[in-house]
Structure formats: structure tokens, C-alpha cells
């Protein structure tokens, strides 16, 4: 008999784990709340640091889940523990009795309009990293070409007042990547990146930074304090250039806000029903931060990806694979004696 | 010239076909006469121009030197050795040396002996232009032949000598042709890409002597000939039968000569005539003051475009950098190409190797610096603080020490050097003071190299004040860059400026420092500024031989390859520098030493970054080998 495994969330973590689990011979049921699989990856155009196409990456992931039962536009209405197995009622009316559950609910983007001073939703030229990716995907370019474009790092990250004191990990590299792509699209435009610390920690990330610098992108160390609209409808951006300890202003046509990662609301909904604990930052707490990253405090319930904190795509995929291994071990120890 | 064309037509040869020729003129001499006249006028104007551009002071210096017996003797010696015998090339590449001297010295002797012959047998034709003195000795064999009035078949010794010299020259030409095909056989990896004028002159030069052989071969029956021309004459007779072929060859010979002279000012061969002038200038102690005029112009035209600097230049480890070599630099200077010359001037490492290896002794680094001066000397900066600091530190002179140690800016990035020098000073019981332990003024050499001489002089002035007021008798320097300028530009009367390699050598010789010999095999890298810059090659080697087994680098002493991180370059990028450092290290590793030793903070850092064996500073390795009972 094949054991049922329920995977909640059809983003990279869910897809990668489902693939691994189905290859191990489990009966995998995947529930995704959105219309299409892929999570945020499905909305992205190119990925740092090598600017590979997000679509190609996703397509290759999707090709591995042929044996997985995927339910899209499906919420987990309720879930509870019955003896050793989990009983989940899905919004499409199906009830799943699963021997193990993998939560891969990922993250929600920080709502950039919460940073009122940046004027997202108020000024026409202010957009988010996700908006820009969408524009890239659609191959849209502005006419007339913008003359000056700014990127604000750490929007809703490292910001206690915005409710997220932590770093979202991917925004710096994303900003630098998007800045390069923007510069390529509008070679005559001035491109500015407003950063606090440039966290280019991964392999090739520093190269990306150097490439951006060489292409003439200006990095200004300082958080944007406020944005206003000029009489001509352009954006007047104020920040401090902390390296010269002086306030600075610049008029831009576009301002791209690097919205950070917040815990997924849908994930919380599942967590609340099983009394799973979250840490102060709102992300789920693993059983052990080093040794049992994929395990929750509840036997049979596992985590993968950004539901336990901001992660890059490779990190997420690694977690998904290790979660699959943990689930396999759990099933073998508990159900096949 | 018109006079030449119309005169002497009355003298007719008694023999049939050549009756219509005057006995000391023939139309074929015209190309030669035009050529030689052109070159003589060109030379005269050029000389006046160069002398005009010299400063009054320099002209006086030159004049004085000409009458100073010592310099006059040196002038003669240098001109003979450098221009004719090419002893400098002989020393480094014998085959190449032979080639050059064969052509230069052989040709020179041909001309001299030719004139002696005429002087002996037809002295009238040396007496004036109307007698053809300009061309007669050159075409002597022809005129003997057509004019039975001349004594023929006289002086068989000369026939032999002239043929021998011709063979000598031809052997050189043969080698030159071979060099074009396979330069590496003569020890040259890269050769200069010739310009159009160079090609014209070159092919003329190649043709001149074979044509002369042919021409003289045709006339050898009557005009006499030696072991070369006489047999050739027999062969010609056997094949052609009559003498009608001889005139075109003489024409060809004359045309080649004429063309060669006309092409000369536009080609590399101008060096043949300019080099003696350069020798006079150099021996008179003149310096480059302007990047294109006066002394520089003499250097520019003295460049023989031989291309020895191509292999010398450390940048040329990458082929793309060949274009920055001195030979092309001189060519662009000659063509007044300001953009290119500026680019090359700024790229150069100023390691001085091209100058050291140049057979003509063209000091192209000095011209590069002069170009940099035109660009950078006008930059306005504020160095008023230097004077204030010198004033302040002079108020409290660093007293006591007879030795004043100046580490220099760069040594502060290599604390090993400073620590080791201090250890040695202490171990040998020296009374010293550290001039720039906490802060110090730059020696000025980097500014000087960047073409900011005026600024450099301000740092020199401030440092001089501090040094003079310190009461020291010896200024000990650990950085060769500083050493060079301290020696050349500072006036520190009564104070001995010494590099730590020299200092340690003398300490050991005087028995003040005892070192023990280890079994380790080491190689020594000659820093540019220390070796080629200050001529210090022996002292460090003396010391190193005493403490270890000294191996050889494939290029060392004045052929040492710059480490690439010279302060001389302004625009060379990091990647190119790294490549040069690699090539420097690979030369050092020729005999697989266990350690590399150098005596310059820049070289130390550069070589360390590329070497796979431990790299030590000179003082550091001496420290390691101080005999135990003497160690602090």
C-alpha cells in the first residue's frame, strides 16, 4: 500500500518535494491555493545571479511531478490529527487522510503600501520588485524611456516598525539583478540603488554587484526616507548618503521597492489549526534550528522552504529534498515495521 | 649638380663602345648623387634644428665636452664600439652582433678603403666636386674600367681587401635576410613591424651589396678584382660573352644607393647617422628636457628600430602589449602622433629594461617621463603641509643616531621589512633613528615618475630639511624607489645614502654582523629601481651567497623582469600587472629554487602574490641567518 503524503503549497519547495516523494513511491497529493503552480517563481522573469529564465526553471520542475495529484485553486479548509495520520478537508470537497504532511506555504510579499512614505499605490511611478518582474515577463518597456530609476532595498525588511526586523535575504541580489536589467533596457537612464548593507553573500553575487557598478549603476548607502511628487509628476526621492553623512535628493521617473518576505497567511491558517508554534518574526519554528530544520514539533508534520524564514531558491530546493528524505525516514520508522 | 652633368665631357675613352663616356662621369651616378646630396642637406638642416632646440646651457655643455680630452676620447671609443662594432649586441647575442657589425663596420671599411684606393691611385678625383669626389670613390671600379688612363690591375692587396670586406658585408646581409624569416635563430622572439619607408630602405640595403658584387664582377677583368669578383667575371664571360650587361648593373647599384639615401630619413636607417650625435650628447651629460625636441629628437632618430626592446619589455608577455614597446613609441614620436605617444607613455612600467638593453642607448623612459610632465606637471596641489611638518620635526631633530633609517611609504605595508631591518641594526649594535616610524613624507619618486616634477621637488625639499637637520651621516633606505630619488635628486652633502643591501653587505664585511650559511637554495630578484635604476647588483648577491646557495634566474641583473607592480605605470591594469608578475616569477623559478628573495617592498608583495615557493625580503632572510650567539 502506498502511503499518502499531503504537500501544502505548490511553489518551488512543494514541487521539488513532491517530485522527490513520488519518485520514492509515495502517493503525493499537492494542494495549491492559486490557479497555477509555481508560487512566486511563476511570476518572476529571470533569476539571480545568472539571469536564467524563471519559466524554464519552473517548467523543468513541473515536468517532474507527473505522478503527483495536484489540486490547484484549493485551500486546506481544515486539518486535524487522527491517531497517527492527518485528516485534511480541502476546499474542493476532497478529504485526504495523509500519513505525513509537508507544509511548503512559502512567503507572502510585504505589502509595500504599508510604507506610506514611499507612496506605493499613490504615486504612478512607484512599483515593487514583483511588478517589475511582471513587466519584464510581459516584455513591456516604457515610452518615453525613463531618465532615472531608483531601487529601494529593504522595503519591509530590517524594519521593526514595519513588523519585520529580519533581512529577507534575496532582495539585495534581486535589486542588483533588476538594476542591471533595467540599465540594459534603458542604457541612457541613470540607475540608483539605495541600500543599507549590500548582502551579496552567495556565489557569483559579488560578480553581479561589480557588473552593476561597471555598467554605471550608482549605489547609495542610505534608506530612502520619503518620496514626493514634483509639479511635473516625477518622483522626488530623499535619502541620506550615509557614506558622506549628508542628506541627498534626486528626481526619478521610477522607483522600485524591494518588498521583503512575510510569513504566508495561508500557511498560518494551517498552522493555527494544529497549534504549530511560530517565532517572533511570524515564521514557523522548526524542531531544531540546526539539526531538525525540516521537522515541526508535531510528528509527521514537516516544513520546507520559506515557511520557516526567508530563503533563496537554491536553499528552498535543498530543504525540499531533505524534507522528502525526512518524510521517507518517518514513514519507514512509523508505518512499515 | 647641373654642373656635374655638363662637365668633363671632353675626356673620351679610346676604346670603341665606351668612347662617348667621360672618364670620371657617367649618367648612372646621378641617382646616387641625388641621394647623397639629399641626405647631406637633410642631415645639415636636422643638425641645426636639434642644436637650436637645445637650451643655451646644454649647447655650452656640449661644446665644452667636445674639447675635454676625456670625453673626446670616450666619444671616439663609443662611436667606434657602438656605431660600428656594435659591442653591446655582441655581448648579449653574438650572432646578432656579428650581423650588425658586419653590415656597419664592413660597409664603413669598404668606404674608407675605397677612398684610400682612390687617394693612392687617382688622387685628382678626391680634389673637388668637379672631379667627382662625391661619387668617384664609390664607383671607382667602374671608372678604372672605362678609363685606361688609370692604372689598372694595381694594388692587388686592395682587390683582396675590398672583396673580403664585401664578403664580410654580404655575410651580414645574408644573416639579416635570414633574420626576417626566422628571428628566433638570432635570439629575437619578436621583431619590429617595418614601416613602408623601412621596407624600401631595407630592400635597397639588401640589394646594394649583391648588386655591387655583380657590378664589380662585370668590370673585374679590366678594373681588377679579388677572389670574389674575378671568378664572377669569368663566369659572366662564359655565359654572356660580351660586356654590354655591365652598365645596367651599375645603374641598379647606383639607384639602390640613391634610393636608400632618400628613404633614409624616413626609415629606421637614420640611426646610422644620428647615433654618433646621440653619443656626443650623452657623453656631454645632456638630459631630456622636451619630449620631442633637442636631445629627444636626437634619440628619436637614433632609434634603430632593431626591436631588441620588444623582447625586453616585461609587458610583452602578452602579445597585445607589443604596441607599447619603445620601438613603436619612438616611431610614433617621430610621426608626431600625440595620442599614441601619450598612451604609450602612460602605460609604461618605467622599469628601464628597454633602455638598459638598447644597443643605441636610447633613453625612452626619460622621454616618456617628459611626456607625462607635459600632461601632469601643471596639476595644482596644496603641499604647504609638508613644509610645516618639516619645520616641526626639525625643531625636535631625531638626535643621536648617526644612521637615519627611512622606510618609505610602501615598506609600511610590509612590516616584515621594517622589523627585519631594525633587528639587524640592533644585532650589529648600530646607533640609529627611525625617520618615518609614525608618519613620513613620500620620497617624491612616485610624483617624479608620474611627471609631476614640480610637486616632487616640494617633497624632496621637505624631506631634505628633516634629513639634514637630523645630524645623521648615513641615510639608510629599504625601498629602492626611494633610494633612486635620494641618490639622484636630493642634495644631501656629507650624508651617505645607502640601500640596506649595501649596508648589510658592509656590516658583514666589517665583521659587525655574523651570518651562517644554510643549505637552502634561493634566487634573487633584482628590483628595477635597485638594479637598473641604481646599478646595485653585487652587494645583495654577496650577502645571499654567504647565507644560502644562490641560484640563477633565467633573466637577471640588468635583464631582470619587472614584477609588474612598478609605480612607473599609470594606466596598466591589474590583470596585465598580474601577468607580468607571473612571467617574472617563472624567470626566477628557472633553477627551481626553494625560496625567492627580493629587496623591494613592491616586488615583495607582487612576487608573493604569484610565487608558489616562499618569498622573503632580503633583510628578513638575513635576519633568519644571523648567527645565534649574536642574536638579540
Amino acid at each position: 500500500m502506498k502511503n499518502n503524503i499531503l504537500v501544502i503549497g505548490g511553489g518551488p519547495a512543494g514541487l521539488e518535494a513532491s517530485k522527490a516523494l513520488s519518485q520514492m513511491g509515495y502517493n503525493v497529493i499537492l494542494a495549491e491555493k492559486e490557479k497555477r503552480l509555481g508560487g512566486h517563481l511563476a511570476k518572476w522573469d529571470r533569476l539571480f545571479p545568472d539571469q536564467v529564465s524563471a519559466k524554464e526553471v519552473l517548467d523543468s520542475m513541473l515536468s517532474g511531478i507527473k505522478d503527483v495529484k495536484c489540486f490547484t485553486e484549493t485551500d486546506v479548509n481544515s486539518i486535524n490529527l487522527l491517531d497517527r495520520s492527518f485528516n485534511a478537508m480541502l476546499s474542493n470537497g476532497i478529504t485526504v487522510l495523509a500519513d505525513a504532511v509537508l507544509l511548503a506555504s512559502g512567503f507572502d510579499m510585504f505589502k509595500a503600501e504599508k510604507k506610506e512614505e514611499y507612496g506605493y499605490g499613490i504615486y504612478d511611478g512607484v512599483l515593487t520588485n514583483a511588478d517589475l518582474e511582471q513587466a519584464f515577463r510581459e516584455g513591456k518597456s516604457s515610452n518615453p524611456a525613463p531618465k532615472a530609476i531608483g531601487f529601494v532595498h529593504c522595503v519591509g525588511s530590517r524594519d521593526e516598525k514595519a513588523g519585520n526586523p529580519a533581512c529577507s535575504k534575496v532582495c539585495c541580489a534581486t535589486a542588483v539583478k533588476q538594476a542591471i536589467e533595467t540599465k540594459e533596457l534603458y542604457p541612457d537612464a541613470k540607475v540608483y540603488c539605495f541600500y543599507m548593507d549590500l548582502r551579496m553573500f552567495g556565489r557569483h553575487y559579488e560578480d553581479l554587484y561589480l557588473r552593476a557598478q561597471k555598467s554605471g549603476i550608482r549605489f547609495i548607502r542610505g534608506r530612502v526616507s520619503e518620496v514626493a511628487e514634483t509639479a511635473e509628476g516625477r518622483l522626488l526621492v530623499k535619502a541620506e548618503d550615509t557614506l558622506s553623512s549628508r542628506p541627498l535628493k534626486v528626481t526619478l521617473d521610477r522607483l522600485v521597492l524591494m518588498a521583503g518576505m512575510r510569513p504566508s497567511e495561508a500557511g498560518h491558517k494551517v498552522g493555527r489549526q494544529l497549534n504549530l508554534s511560530v517565532e517572533e518574526d511570524g515564521f514557523f519554528s522548526a524542531r531544531d534550528g540546526l539539526l531538525s530544520l525540516q521537522k515541526s514539533k508535531l510528528p509527521g508534520f514537516f516544513y520546507a522552504g520559506a515557511c520557516t524564514g526567508p530563503k533563496t531558491l537554491p536553499d528552498t530546493l535543498h530543504e525540499a529534498r531533505s524534507a522528502a528524505m525526512e518524510i521517507d525516514r518517518y514513514i519507514k520508522e512509523n508505518f512499515r515495521k | 649638380m647641373i654642373y656635374l652633368l655638363t662637365t668633363n665631357l671632353q675626356q673620351i675613352s679610346p676604346e670603341g663602345i665606351i668612347d662617348r663616356y667621360p672618364n670620371s662621369y657617367n649618367h648612372f651616378v646621378l641617382p646616387f648623387v641625388i641621394g647623397i646630396t639629399f641626405i647631406l642637406i637633410y642631415l645639415f638642416i636636422g643638425l641645426i634644428r636639434i642644436l637650436y632646440h637645445l637650451t643655451g646651457e646644454d649647447r655650452l655643455k656640449l661644446l665644452k665636452s667636445l674639447f675635454n680630452p676625456k670625453t673626446a676620447w670616450k666619444n671616439i671609443k663609443d662611436i667606434f664600439c657602438d656605431c660600428l662594432l656594435h659591442t653591446k649586441i655582441w655581448k648579449r647575442k653574438p650572432l646578432l652582433g656579428y650581423m650588425h657589425s658586419a653590415i656597419a663596420f664592413g660597409w664603413f671599411l669598404l668606404i674608407v678603403v675605397g677612398h684610400i684606393e682612390v687617394w693612392l691611385f687617382a688622387p685628382r678625383h678626391l680634389s673637388g666636386l668637379t672631379e667627382g669626389s662625391l661619387y668617384y670613390p664609390i664607383f671607382y671600379r667602374f671608372f678604372i674600367w672605362i678609363n685606361p688612363a688609370h692604372e689598372t690591375l694595381r694594388g692587388s692587396v686592395f682587390f683582396f681587401i675590398m672583396d673580403f670586406l664585401l664578403l664580410y658585408v654580404l655575410s651580414g646581409i645574408g644573416l639579416a635576410m635570414f633574420k626576417r624569416v626566422r628571428s628566433i635563430a638570432l635570439g629575437m622572439r619578436h621583431t619590429t613591424k617595418p614601416s613602408l619607408a623601412d621596407r624600401v630602405a631595407l630592400y635597397c640595403l639588401w640589394l646594394i651589396f649583391p648588386l655591387r658584387l655583380l657590378a664589380e664582377g662585370f668590370t673585374a677583368d679590366l678594373s681588377g678584382g679579388g677572389f670574389l669578383t674575378r671568378p664572377l667575371n669569368w663566369v659572366f664571360r662564359a655565359f654572356f660573352g660580351n660586356e654590354l650587361n655591365f652598365l645596367p648593373t651599375w645603374w641598379a647599384y647606383s639607384i639602390c644607393l640613391g634610393l636608400f639615401f632618400v628613404a633614409m630619413p624616413f626609415s629606421r636607417y637614420m640611426h646610422i647617422l644620428t647615433e654618433p650625435l646621440l653619443i656626443l650628447f650623452r657623453n656631454a651629460g645632456l638630459k631630456v628636457r622636451h619630449p620631442r625636441k633637442g636631445f629627444a629628437e636626437a634619440e628619436i632618430y637614433a632609434c634603430s628600430s632593431c626591436g631588441l626592446c620588444l623582447d625586453a619589455c616585461p609587458m610583452n608577455v602578452q602579445k597585445k602589449n607589443l604596441k607599447y614597446s619603445s620601438v613603436y613609441f619612438m616611431r610614433f614620436l617621430r610621426r608626431h602622433n600625440k595620442r599614441k605617444t601619450r598612451e604609450i607613455a602612460e602605460k609604461c612600467l618605467m622599469c628601464g629594461k628597454c633602455y638598459a638593453l638598447c644597443p643605441v642607448g636610447v633613453n625612452s623612459p626619460a622621454i616618456r617621463r617628459a611626456i607625462r610632465e607635459t600632461q601632469n606637471n601643471k596639476i595644482q596641489c596644496d603641499y604647504s603641509y609638508l613644509g610645516k611638518y618639516a619645520e616641526k620635526s626639525s625643531e625636535n631633530p631625531k638626535s643621536g643616531g648617526k644612521i637615519l633609517y627611512f622606510a618609505g611609504c610602501m615598506s609600511h605595508l610590509t612590516p616584515t621589512i621594517i622589523k627585519s631591518v631594525e633587528t639587524i641594526l640592533k644585532a650589529s649594535g648600530q646607533d640609529y633613528e627611525f625617520m618615518d616610524r609614525n608618519e613620513g613624507i613620500c620620497c617624491g619618486r612616485p610624483l617624479m615618475l608620474a611627471g609631476r616634477g614640480d610637486a616632487a621637488r616640494q617633497t624632496i625639499e621637505a624631506n631634505s630639511k628633516i634629513i639634514r637637520n637630523s645630524g645623521c651621516t648615513t641615510l639608510l633606505v629599504s625601498c629602492p624607489i626611494c633610494l633612486k630619488i635620494f641618490k639622484e635628486e636630493y642634495s644631501l652633502k656629507g650624508i651617505k645614502v645607502i640601500h640596506y643591501t649595501q649596508f648589510i653587505d658592509s656590516l658583514i664585511k666589517e665583521g659587525k654582523l655574523k651570518v651562517s650559511k644554510s643549505s637552502s637554495a634561493i634566487v634573487y630578484h633584482d628590483p628595477c629601481e635597485l638594479g637598473r635604476g641604481c646599478g646595485i647588483y653585487e652587494e645583495p648577491r654577496n650577502v645571499l651567497r654567504a647565507i644560502a646557495e644562490l641560484k640563477k634566474a633565467s633573466k637577471e641583473r640588468d635583464e631582470s623582469i619587472c614584477c609588474g607592480y612598478s609605480l612607473g605605470t599609470l594606466t596598466l591594469d591589474e590583470k596585465d600587472k598580474a601577468k607580468i608578475a607571473e612571467s617574472s616569477v617563472s624567470s626566477l623559478m628557472a633553477e627551481n629554487p626553494q625560496e625567492i628573495v627580493t629587496a623591494c617592498p613592491m616586488c615583495y608583495r607582487a612576487i608573493r602574490s604569484k610565487a608558489e615557493v616562499p618569498v622573503k625580503d632580503f633583510a628578513e632572510i638575513v635576519c633568519e641567518n644571523i648567527e645565534n650567539n649574536d642574536k638579540n
Binding site: - | 596644496d382 611609504c409 599609470l570 613592491m602
Partner: protein, 108 residues
């Protein structure tokens, strides 16, 4: 005009809109390394002249990016071109040529 004993003080704010981009572009062509600075400060920390006067290549580059050419010239006017900054720069910036280029382009 009345002297009140006080008046409008000049703004210390950097205005990137009015920063001279032409000269900076000229500089970036003469020495593209100017774009590579990551503001680590190694140059200023090792600077020989900085022991005496306010000298900082790092801040000079920043001033140029902010269109403050005079500030940059001032920060480099004491430089002795000793080259220590070239040696310590982790990005391999040709600092001496950069300094010379700045001095040439921004002095005119």
C-alpha cells in the same frame, strides 16, 4: 535688503539632479576603475598624506558621484601619489591614475 543678523543658510543637501554628469562620464572613460569603488576605505586608511591633512580617495569618489567636484579636488590636493592605496585596494583600482585623472578633469 535688510540685515537681520541671520539669513537663509545654504542647503547641505546633495542634489543629484544638478550633479555634473558630463565630467564624471569623461572621468569614467579616462579611468573606468572609478566605477569599481565599493567604499571599503582601505585607501584612506593607508594614505600617507592623510596623516597630515584631510585626504581620502574614497570620499573623493563619493563626492564626484554626488557631483561635488570641488570637494573631491580638495580631498586629493594633498596626495603625494605614493601608491599605497593602489597596493591595498581590494578591487584593484588603479588609484594613482584615477587621482591624476580627477585632478586633470576637475581642475579645468
Amino acid at each position: 535688503m535688510i540685515d537681520f543678523g541671520f539669513g537663509v543658510s545654504p542647503s547641505s543637501r546633495i542634489n543629484l539632479d544638478s550633479a555634473d554628469k558630463e565630467k564624471f562620464n569623461e572621468l569614467a572613460i579616462a579611468e573606468p576603475d572609478v566605477l569599481k569603488c565599493m567604499a571599503c576605505g582601505s585607501c584612506s586608511a593607508s594614505c600617507t598624506a592623510a596623516a597630515f591633512e584631510d585626504t581620502s580617495l574614497r570620499r573623493a569618489i563619493l563626492s564626484l558621484q554626488n557631483g561635488l567636484g570641488d570637494d573631491a579636488s580638495k580631498l586629493l590636493s594633498h596626495c603625494m601619489l605614493c601608491g599605497k592605496c593602489t597596493m591595498v585596494c581590494p578591487r584593484g583600482i588603479n588609484t594613482r591614475h584615477l587621482i591624476l585623472s580627477i585632478q586633470k578633469i576637475y581642475s579645468l
